[in-house]
């Protein structure tokens, strides 16, 4: 089982991430999720991502370890960016290689749901007329709770 977890300001290359996951011979199934900066208003200048450095990677490793206990996984990659990001930039990548597609889908979805509700990241939106912290969504809590 190969695990890669990174929290970084630099962008990441989904092609490299995919290659690393797909080279696990006999894995059969690779599921990925990429989250990008979305601009619902058309006015977003930047998205700022704050995190709690000493806790973040530990939290992500813990979430991956829980996924491994639930499903047979060959490889997992989780990358989350921090700092200032512009519209359509990549924020997060989660990729899972497994022998079976149901495990790959479920683990990818599980890791995203837990990351959204249990990893110490906070988003702030910057507009020309000011900035605002993004509020946590009830739908994310509901999504995370369905795994319990």
């Amino acid at each position: 089982m190969s695990v890669q977890v990174a929290v970084q300001t630099e962008d990441f290359d989904v092609a490299d991430c995919y290659k690393t996951l797909a080279k696990h011979a006999s894995c059969g199934a690779v599921a990925t999720f990429s989250g990008l900066v979305r601009d619902d208003t058309g006015d977003l200048q930047a998205l700022e991502l704050e995190h709690y450095p000493q806790m973040t990677e530990k939290a992500l490793q813990g979430i991956v370890a829980q996924a491994q206990q639930r499903w047979p996984l060959a490889a997992v990659t989780v990358i989350h960016r921090v700092g200032y990001l512009r519209v359509n930039e990549q924020i997060v990548f989660v990729g899972v290689a497994s022998g079976h597609r149901d495990a790959a889908f479920a683990a990818t979805s599980f890791i995203m749901d837990y990351l959204k509700t249990k990893a110490p990241f906070w988003k702030k939106e910057h507009y020309a007329e000011g900035s605002r912290w993004v509020a946590a969504k009830d739908s994310d809590t509901v999504a995370a709770n369905r795994w319990e």
């Binding site: 704050e50 709690y52 806790m55 530990k58 959204k116 990241f121 906070w122 988003k123 946590a136």
Partner: protein
């Protein structure tokens, strides 16, 4: 010393990244919060939000957990990453 860190909107509104307190006898996080709230009306208001989260030594913790010198407590609003 006990270290207390603040993040996101809490860090901004309290205008503080971290505090260090000398706690000669371990206390619960709930008790620590009461002490911090007594600092001012602003602190009382900001630390009274119903959805306040807490971590002790980089893991999520309940208000009943006891902390003392050498521990790191973090206080923050619900997370919004991903």
């Amino acid at each position: 010393m006990l270290t207390i860190k603040f993040f996101a909107v809490l860090r901004e509104r309290l205008a503080v990244d971290q505090l260090q307190l000398d706690i000669n006898k371990p206390i619960s996080v709930a008790k620590l919060l009461e002490q911090l709230k007594s600092r001012s009306d602003k602190w009382h208001r900001e630390l009274s939000r119903y959805d306040l989260l807490c971590a002790v030594n980089h893991e999520f913790a309940e208000p009943t957990q006891r902390v003392g010198n050498g521990d790191e407590v973090a206080l923050f609003p619900p997370v919004t990453g991903g």
